[in-house]
Symmetry: C2
Subunit: 183 residues, 2 copies
DNA sequence: TAGGATACGGAGACCCCCGCCGTTTAGCAA
DNA sequence: TTGCTAAACGGCGGGGGTCTCCGTATCCTA
Protein backbone atom coordinates (compact mmCIF):
# COMPACT_ATOMS: atom_id res chain seq x y z
CA UNK A 1 0.00 0.00 0.00
CA UNK A 2 1.46 3.30 -1.04
CA UNK A 3 2.26 5.87 1.60
CA UNK A 4 -0.31 8.41 0.45
CA UNK A 5 -2.94 5.70 0.31
CA UNK A 6 -2.21 4.78 3.89
CA UNK A 7 -2.46 8.38 4.97
CA UNK A 8 -5.78 8.85 3.25
CA UNK A 9 -7.11 5.61 4.62
CA UNK A 10 -6.27 6.65 8.15
CA UNK A 11 -7.69 10.14 7.73
CA UNK A 12 -10.88 8.79 6.24
CA UNK A 13 -11.32 6.30 9.01
CA UNK A 14 -10.92 8.98 11.65
CA UNK A 15 -13.26 11.39 9.92
CA UNK A 16 -15.78 8.67 9.27
CA UNK A 17 -15.79 7.63 12.89
CA UNK A 18 -16.49 11.17 13.99
CA UNK A 19 -19.09 11.76 11.34
CA UNK A 20 -20.89 8.50 12.06
CA UNK A 21 -20.86 9.29 15.75
CA UNK A 22 -22.75 12.47 14.95
CA UNK A 23 -24.99 11.46 12.08
CA UNK A 24 -25.42 7.73 12.48
CA UNK A 25 -24.86 4.94 10.04
CA UNK A 26 -26.06 6.86 7.04
CA UNK A 27 -23.74 9.78 7.32
CA UNK A 28 -22.91 11.32 3.96
CA UNK A 29 -19.89 9.75 2.28
CA UNK A 30 -19.49 12.90 0.26
CA UNK A 31 -19.33 14.92 3.44
CA UNK A 32 -16.75 12.58 4.89
CA UNK A 33 -14.63 13.03 1.78
CA UNK A 34 -14.96 16.78 2.01
CA UNK A 35 -13.93 16.94 5.65
CA UNK A 36 -11.02 14.58 5.06
CA UNK A 37 -9.95 16.76 2.15
CA UNK A 38 -10.03 14.02 -0.44
CA UNK A 39 -12.10 13.40 -3.54
CA UNK A 40 -15.22 11.35 -3.30
CA UNK A 41 -13.61 8.75 -5.53
CA UNK A 42 -10.96 8.12 -2.93
CA UNK A 43 -13.55 7.21 -0.36
CA UNK A 44 -15.11 4.69 -2.67
CA UNK A 45 -11.77 3.24 -3.59
CA UNK A 46 -10.89 2.50 0.01
CA UNK A 47 -14.41 1.52 0.99
CA UNK A 48 -16.33 0.18 -1.99
CA UNK A 49 -19.57 0.01 -0.06
CA UNK A 50 -20.99 1.83 2.90
CA UNK A 51 -20.97 -1.47 4.66
CA UNK A 52 -17.23 -1.76 4.18
CA UNK A 53 -16.73 1.63 5.77
CA UNK A 54 -18.90 0.76 8.73
CA UNK A 55 -17.08 -2.52 9.17
CA UNK A 56 -13.74 -0.73 9.19
CA UNK A 57 -14.89 1.95 11.58
CA UNK A 58 -16.29 -0.50 14.08
CA UNK A 59 -13.64 -3.13 13.68
CA UNK A 60 -11.78 -2.33 16.88
CA UNK A 61 -14.92 -2.13 18.92
CA UNK A 62 -16.11 -5.47 17.66
CA UNK A 63 -12.69 -6.97 18.25
CA UNK A 64 -12.81 -5.78 21.82
CA UNK A 65 -16.20 -7.35 22.33
CA UNK A 66 -14.97 -10.62 20.89
CA UNK A 67 -11.96 -10.59 23.17
CA UNK A 68 -14.30 -9.84 26.04
CA UNK A 69 -16.20 -13.02 25.21
CA UNK A 70 -13.06 -15.12 25.00
CA UNK A 71 -11.88 -13.82 28.36
CA UNK A 72 -15.01 -15.16 29.94
CA UNK A 73 -14.68 -18.66 28.62
CA UNK A 74 -14.01 -21.37 31.17
CA UNK A 75 -15.34 -19.44 34.12
CA UNK A 76 -17.18 -21.47 36.73
CA UNK A 77 -20.15 -19.11 36.66
CA UNK A 78 -21.09 -19.78 33.06
CA UNK A 79 -24.40 -18.00 33.17
CA UNK A 80 -22.90 -14.94 34.76
CA UNK A 81 -20.18 -14.91 32.14
CA UNK A 82 -22.74 -14.93 29.35
CA UNK A 83 -24.89 -12.26 30.94
CA UNK A 84 -21.92 -10.00 31.46
CA UNK A 85 -20.99 -10.33 27.84
CA UNK A 86 -24.52 -9.68 26.64
CA UNK A 87 -24.55 -6.57 28.77
CA UNK A 88 -21.32 -5.37 27.27
CA UNK A 89 -22.56 -5.94 23.74
CA UNK A 90 -25.81 -4.17 24.54
CA UNK A 91 -24.03 -1.18 26.00
CA UNK A 92 -21.79 -0.87 22.97
CA UNK A 93 -24.60 -1.30 20.49
CA UNK A 94 -26.73 1.26 22.25
CA UNK A 95 -23.97 3.76 22.90
CA UNK A 96 -21.92 3.78 19.75
CA UNK A 97 -24.00 5.57 17.19
CA UNK A 98 -24.43 3.54 14.03
CA UNK A 99 -23.19 0.24 15.41
CA UNK A 100 -26.63 -1.20 15.90
CA UNK A 101 -27.66 -0.30 12.39
CA UNK A 102 -24.44 -1.71 11.01
CA UNK A 103 -25.03 -4.98 12.84
CA UNK A 104 -28.57 -5.10 11.62
CA UNK A 105 -27.56 -4.46 8.06
CA UNK A 106 -25.00 -7.13 7.79
CA UNK A 107 -27.57 -9.56 8.98
CA UNK A 108 -29.36 -8.34 5.85
CA UNK A 109 -26.47 -8.70 3.42
CA UNK A 110 -27.11 -11.76 1.28
CA UNK A 111 -23.49 -12.41 0.44
CA UNK A 112 -22.16 -12.60 3.94
CA UNK A 113 -18.63 -11.39 4.13
CA UNK A 114 -16.86 -13.90 6.30
CA UNK A 115 -15.67 -11.31 8.72
CA UNK A 116 -18.63 -9.06 9.04
CA UNK A 117 -19.23 -7.88 12.56
CA UNK A 118 -22.26 -10.04 13.22
CA UNK A 119 -20.44 -13.17 12.12
CA UNK A 120 -17.51 -12.34 14.36
CA UNK A 121 -19.72 -11.69 17.35
CA UNK A 122 -21.66 -14.84 16.69
CA UNK A 123 -18.54 -16.93 16.57
CA UNK A 124 -17.14 -15.31 19.66
CA UNK A 125 -20.33 -15.67 21.64
CA UNK A 126 -21.29 -19.16 20.61
CA UNK A 127 -18.93 -20.92 23.05
CA UNK A 128 -20.22 -18.76 25.86
CA UNK A 129 -23.76 -19.81 25.13
CA UNK A 130 -22.83 -23.46 24.75
CA UNK A 131 -20.96 -23.33 28.02
CA UNK A 132 -24.01 -21.88 29.78
CA UNK A 133 -26.53 -24.08 27.99
CA UNK A 134 -27.66 -25.89 31.14
CA UNK A 135 -28.80 -22.63 32.65
CA UNK A 136 -30.63 -21.42 29.58
CA UNK A 137 -34.00 -22.07 28.05
CA UNK A 138 -33.59 -24.84 25.49
CA UNK A 139 -33.19 -23.77 21.89
CA UNK A 140 -31.70 -20.37 22.61
CA UNK A 141 -28.89 -19.49 20.21
CA UNK A 142 -26.32 -16.71 20.05
CA UNK A 143 -27.98 -15.58 16.88
CA UNK A 144 -31.24 -15.11 18.74
CA UNK A 145 -29.59 -13.16 21.47
CA UNK A 146 -27.69 -10.93 19.09
CA UNK A 147 -30.83 -10.28 17.11
CA UNK A 148 -32.61 -9.33 20.30
CA UNK A 149 -29.81 -7.02 21.34
CA UNK A 150 -29.59 -5.40 17.95
CA UNK A 151 -33.31 -4.79 17.99
CA UNK A 152 -33.23 -3.35 21.47
CA UNK A 153 -30.39 -1.05 20.52
CA UNK A 154 -32.25 0.15 17.45
CA UNK A 155 -35.37 0.81 19.44
CA UNK A 156 -33.59 2.79 22.13
CA UNK A 157 -31.38 4.80 19.82
CA UNK A 158 -33.19 8.03 20.46
CA UNK A 159 -33.72 7.61 24.16
CA UNK A 160 -32.01 10.20 26.38
CA UNK A 161 -29.89 7.50 28.00
CA UNK A 162 -29.70 4.70 25.44
CA UNK A 163 -27.31 2.47 27.34
CA UNK A 164 -29.38 2.43 30.50
CA UNK A 165 -32.62 1.94 28.67
CA UNK A 166 -31.21 -0.78 26.44
CA UNK A 167 -29.83 -2.69 29.39
CA UNK A 168 -33.12 -2.33 31.18
CA UNK A 169 -34.91 -3.92 28.26
CA UNK A 170 -32.28 -6.60 28.00
CA UNK A 171 -32.79 -7.42 31.66
CA UNK A 172 -36.49 -7.60 31.06
CA UNK A 173 -35.96 -10.07 28.25
CA UNK A 174 -33.53 -12.13 30.27
CA UNK A 175 -35.74 -12.25 33.32
CA UNK A 176 -38.88 -12.78 31.34
CA UNK A 177 -42.20 -11.13 31.70
CA UNK A 178 -43.30 -13.10 34.73
CA UNK A 179 -42.73 -12.18 38.34
CA UNK A 180 -39.59 -13.76 39.75
CA UNK A 181 -40.22 -17.25 41.09
CA UNK A 182 -38.07 -19.07 43.56
CA UNK A 183 -36.96 -22.55 42.71
CA UNK B 1 -62.02 19.46 1.05
CA UNK B 2 -62.39 19.91 -2.66
CA UNK B 3 -63.43 16.92 -4.73
CA UNK B 4 -60.19 16.69 -6.69
CA UNK B 5 -58.23 16.94 -3.47
CA UNK B 6 -60.14 14.02 -2.05
CA UNK B 7 -59.51 11.97 -5.16
CA UNK B 8 -55.81 12.67 -5.07
CA UNK B 9 -55.62 11.96 -1.38
CA UNK B 10 -57.22 8.58 -1.85
CA UNK B 11 -55.07 7.70 -4.85
CA UNK B 12 -51.91 8.71 -3.05
CA UNK B 13 -52.80 6.69 -0.01
CA UNK B 14 -53.41 3.59 -2.09
CA UNK B 15 -50.25 4.01 -4.12
CA UNK B 16 -48.21 4.78 -1.03
CA UNK B 17 -49.46 1.68 0.71
CA UNK B 18 -48.42 -0.48 -2.20
CA UNK B 19 -45.11 1.25 -2.63
CA UNK B 20 -44.25 1.06 1.05
CA UNK B 21 -45.18 -2.60 1.08
CA UNK B 22 -42.57 -3.15 -1.59
CA UNK B 23 -39.84 -0.69 -0.66
CA UNK B 24 -40.26 -0.15 3.03
CA UNK B 25 -40.64 3.02 5.02
CA UNK B 26 -38.28 5.05 2.88
CA UNK B 27 -39.98 4.50 -0.42
CA UNK B 28 -39.48 7.41 -2.79
CA UNK B 29 -42.14 10.08 -2.47
CA UNK B 30 -41.33 11.21 -5.98
CA UNK B 31 -41.99 7.72 -7.23
CA UNK B 32 -45.29 7.58 -5.39
CA UNK B 33 -46.28 10.86 -7.02
CA UNK B 34 -45.31 9.55 -10.43
CA UNK B 35 -47.31 6.35 -10.08
CA UNK B 36 -50.29 8.20 -8.74
CA UNK B 37 -50.02 10.58 -11.66
CA UNK B 38 -49.77 13.73 -9.60
CA UNK B 39 -47.08 16.33 -9.11
CA UNK B 40 -44.61 15.91 -6.31
CA UNK B 41 -45.95 19.08 -4.75
CA UNK B 42 -49.32 17.46 -4.31
CA UNK B 43 -47.81 14.67 -2.25
CA UNK B 44 -46.16 17.14 0.07
CA UNK B 45 -49.30 19.18 0.38
CA UNK B 46 -51.34 16.24 1.58
CA UNK B 47 -48.52 14.77 3.65
CA UNK B 48 -46.11 17.47 4.76
CA UNK B 49 -43.67 14.96 6.19
CA UNK B 50 -42.84 11.38 5.47
CA UNK B 51 -44.04 10.64 8.95
CA UNK B 52 -47.47 12.03 8.14
CA UNK B 53 -47.70 9.74 5.14
CA UNK B 54 -46.69 6.70 7.14
CA UNK B 55 -49.18 7.58 9.84
CA UNK B 56 -51.97 7.86 7.30
CA UNK B 57 -51.04 4.63 5.55
CA UNK B 58 -50.91 2.62 8.74
CA UNK B 59 -53.83 4.28 10.44
CA UNK B 60 -56.30 1.50 9.87
CA UNK B 61 -53.88 -1.19 10.92
CA UNK B 62 -53.10 0.60 14.12
CA UNK B 63 -56.77 1.20 14.74
CA UNK B 64 -57.40 -2.49 14.37
CA UNK B 65 -54.69 -3.31 16.86
CA UNK B 66 -56.11 -0.84 19.33
CA UNK B 67 -59.55 -2.34 18.95
CA UNK B 68 -57.99 -5.74 19.45
CA UNK B 69 -56.64 -4.53 22.78
CA UNK B 70 -59.95 -3.10 23.88
CA UNK B 71 -61.72 -6.33 23.03
CA UNK B 72 -59.49 -8.17 25.44
CA UNK B 73 -60.18 -5.93 28.39
CA UNK B 74 -62.06 -7.48 31.26
CA UNK B 75 -61.21 -11.05 30.40
CA UNK B 76 -60.61 -13.35 33.33
CA UNK B 77 -57.32 -14.57 31.89
CA UNK B 78 -55.59 -11.22 32.05
CA UNK B 79 -52.15 -12.51 31.28
CA UNK B 80 -53.36 -14.49 28.31
CA UNK B 81 -55.17 -11.43 27.04
CA UNK B 82 -52.03 -9.36 27.19
CA UNK B 83 -49.89 -12.01 25.55
CA UNK B 84 -52.35 -12.44 22.73
CA UNK B 85 -52.30 -8.76 22.05
CA UNK B 86 -48.54 -8.56 22.15
CA UNK B 87 -48.43 -11.40 19.66
CA UNK B 88 -50.82 -9.61 17.37
CA UNK B 89 -48.81 -6.41 17.52
CA UNK B 90 -45.61 -8.32 16.86
CA UNK B 91 -47.05 -10.10 13.88
CA UNK B 92 -48.28 -6.86 12.38
CA UNK B 93 -45.04 -5.01 13.02
CA UNK B 94 -42.99 -7.81 11.53
CA UNK B 95 -45.26 -8.49 8.58
CA UNK B 96 -46.33 -5.08 7.39
CA UNK B 97 -43.31 -3.61 5.71
CA UNK B 98 -42.44 -0.21 7.07
CA UNK B 99 -44.67 -0.34 10.14
CA UNK B 100 -41.86 -1.17 12.53
CA UNK B 101 -39.75 1.66 11.22
CA UNK B 102 -42.68 4.03 11.42
CA UNK B 103 -43.30 3.05 15.02
CA UNK B 104 -39.66 3.47 15.82
CA UNK B 105 -39.50 6.87 14.21
CA UNK B 106 -42.38 8.40 16.01
CA UNK B 107 -40.77 7.38 19.22
CA UNK B 108 -37.99 9.62 17.89
CA UNK B 109 -40.12 12.61 16.97
CA UNK B 110 -39.54 15.30 19.57
CA UNK B 111 -42.87 17.01 19.10
CA UNK B 112 -45.09 14.02 19.64
CA UNK B 113 -48.22 14.32 17.60
CA UNK B 114 -50.99 13.34 19.94
CA UNK B 115 -52.23 10.66 17.68
CA UNK B 116 -49.08 9.09 16.41
CA UNK B 117 -49.25 5.34 16.18
CA UNK B 118 -47.05 4.64 19.16
CA UNK B 119 -49.09 6.89 21.40
CA UNK B 120 -52.28 5.22 20.30
CA UNK B 121 -50.91 1.75 20.88
CA UNK B 122 -49.56 2.77 24.24
CA UNK B 123 -52.89 4.12 25.35
CA UNK B 124 -54.71 1.07 24.08
CA UNK B 125 -52.33 -1.38 25.68
CA UNK B 126 -51.88 0.30 29.00
CA UNK B 127 -55.12 -1.03 30.54
CA UNK B 128 -54.23 -4.53 29.40
CA UNK B 129 -50.93 -4.31 31.20
CA UNK B 130 -52.45 -2.80 34.30
CA UNK B 131 -55.07 -5.51 34.33
CA UNK B 132 -52.40 -8.20 34.16
CA UNK B 133 -49.99 -6.48 36.53
CA UNK B 134 -50.18 -9.20 39.17
CA UNK B 135 -48.85 -11.73 36.72
CA UNK B 136 -46.04 -9.56 35.45
CA UNK B 137 -42.60 -8.67 36.64
CA UNK B 138 -42.85 -5.44 38.60
CA UNK B 139 -42.03 -2.26 36.76
CA UNK B 140 -42.90 -3.49 33.30
CA UNK B 141 -44.73 -0.89 31.24
CA UNK B 142 -46.52 -0.90 27.91
CA UNK B 143 -43.86 1.43 26.64
CA UNK B 144 -41.19 -1.14 27.45
CA UNK B 145 -43.10 -3.88 25.73
CA UNK B 146 -43.76 -1.83 22.63
CA UNK B 147 -40.13 -0.79 22.45
CA UNK B 148 -39.13 -4.42 22.68
CA UNK B 149 -41.56 -5.42 19.97
CA UNK B 150 -40.52 -2.60 17.71
CA UNK B 151 -36.90 -3.59 18.13
CA UNK B 152 -37.61 -7.23 17.45
CA UNK B 153 -39.55 -6.34 14.35
CA UNK B 154 -36.72 -4.15 13.08
CA UNK B 155 -34.18 -6.86 13.70
CA UNK B 156 -36.17 -9.55 11.91
CA UNK B 157 -37.20 -7.43 8.96
CA UNK B 158 -34.98 -9.27 6.53
CA UNK B 159 -35.58 -12.76 7.83
CA UNK B 160 -37.24 -15.17 5.39
CA UNK B 161 -40.22 -15.52 7.68
CA UNK B 162 -40.31 -12.32 9.73
CA UNK B 163 -43.54 -13.01 11.59
CA UNK B 164 -42.46 -16.42 12.82
CA UNK B 165 -39.02 -15.26 13.79
CA UNK B 166 -40.31 -12.15 15.51
CA UNK B 167 -42.80 -14.13 17.54
CA UNK B 168 -40.12 -16.60 18.45
CA UNK B 169 -37.98 -13.82 19.84
CA UNK B 170 -40.94 -12.30 21.60
CA UNK B 171 -41.63 -15.64 23.27
CA UNK B 172 -38.03 -15.80 24.29
CA UNK B 173 -38.27 -12.40 25.90
CA UNK B 174 -41.54 -13.25 27.60
CA UNK B 175 -40.32 -16.55 28.92
CA UNK B 176 -36.95 -15.21 29.87
CA UNK B 177 -33.57 -16.67 29.27
CA UNK B 178 -33.76 -19.25 32.02
CA UNK B 179 -35.07 -22.78 31.73
CA UNK B 180 -38.68 -23.09 32.75
CA UNK B 181 -39.09 -23.60 36.45
CA UNK B 182 -42.06 -25.02 38.23
CA UNK B 183 -43.55 -23.02 41.03
C1' DT C 1 -72.19 31.69 -14.93
C1' DA C 2 -68.61 34.44 -13.05
C1' DG C 3 -65.24 35.05 -9.67
C1' DG C 4 -62.54 33.85 -5.75
C1' DA C 5 -60.65 30.34 -3.11
C1' DT C 6 -58.36 26.18 -3.39
C1' DA C 7 -55.49 22.68 -5.18
C1' DC C 8 -52.36 21.42 -8.76
C1' DG C 9 -47.93 20.69 -11.16
C1' DG C 10 -43.45 21.10 -12.05
C1' DA C 11 -39.28 24.04 -12.30
C1' DG C 12 -35.31 25.28 -9.55
C1' DA C 13 -31.93 24.81 -5.91
C1' DC C 14 -29.49 21.60 -3.28
C1' DC C 15 -27.61 17.15 -1.85
C1' DC C 16 -26.34 12.42 -2.46
C1' DC C 17 -24.60 8.13 -4.65
C1' DC C 18 -22.03 5.94 -8.23
C1' DG C 19 -18.90 5.06 -12.23
C1' DC C 20 -15.45 6.67 -15.01
C1' DC C 21 -11.19 8.53 -16.72
C1' DG C 22 -7.49 11.99 -17.34
C1' DT C 23 -3.88 13.49 -14.23
C1' DT C 24 -0.71 13.37 -10.46
C1' DT C 25 2.55 11.15 -7.55
C1' DA C 26 5.10 7.65 -4.91
C1' DG C 27 8.58 4.50 -5.06
C1' DC C 28 11.66 1.55 -7.57
C1' DA C 29 15.48 0.93 -10.62
C1' DA C 30 19.13 2.39 -13.40
C1' DT D 1 19.68 11.62 -9.10
C1' DT D 2 16.73 10.91 -12.50
C1' DG D 3 13.34 8.44 -15.11
C1' DC D 4 9.59 5.62 -15.47
C1' DT D 5 5.46 3.00 -14.40
C1' DA D 6 1.83 1.52 -11.86
C1' DA D 7 -0.96 2.94 -8.25
C1' DA D 8 -3.75 6.42 -6.30
C1' DC D 9 -6.08 10.70 -6.76
C1' DG D 10 -9.78 13.99 -7.82
C1' DG D 11 -13.68 15.48 -9.67
C1' DC D 12 -16.96 15.49 -13.51
C1' DG D 13 -21.42 13.81 -15.27
C1' DG D 14 -25.58 11.19 -14.98
C1' DG D 15 -29.41 9.62 -12.24
C1' DG D 16 -32.29 10.19 -8.05
C1' DG D 17 -34.34 12.33 -4.13
C1' DT D 18 -36.12 16.13 -1.09
C1' DC D 19 -38.13 20.55 -0.39
C1' DT D 20 -39.88 25.23 -1.69
C1' DC D 21 -42.29 28.22 -4.35
C1' DC D 22 -45.34 30.27 -7.61
C1' DG D 23 -48.02 30.65 -11.98
C1' DT D 24 -51.92 28.14 -13.52
C1' DA D 25 -55.93 25.18 -13.74
C1' DT D 26 -59.84 23.63 -11.34
C1' DC D 27 -63.71 23.50 -8.35
C1' DC D 28 -67.65 25.38 -6.06
C1' DT D 29 -70.50 28.88 -4.52
C1' DA D 30 -73.18 32.85 -4.87
Amino acid sequence: MRADAQRNYARLLAVAEAEIAVNGADASLEQIARIAGVGSGTVRRHFPTRHALLAAVFRDRVETLCAHARDRLGRPDTRGALLEWLGAVTTSAATIRGLAMALNRDRTADAEHEHCATTQLTEAGEPLVRQAADDLAPGVTVTDLLALITGIALATETHPDPAAEANRLLDLAITGLSPIRRL
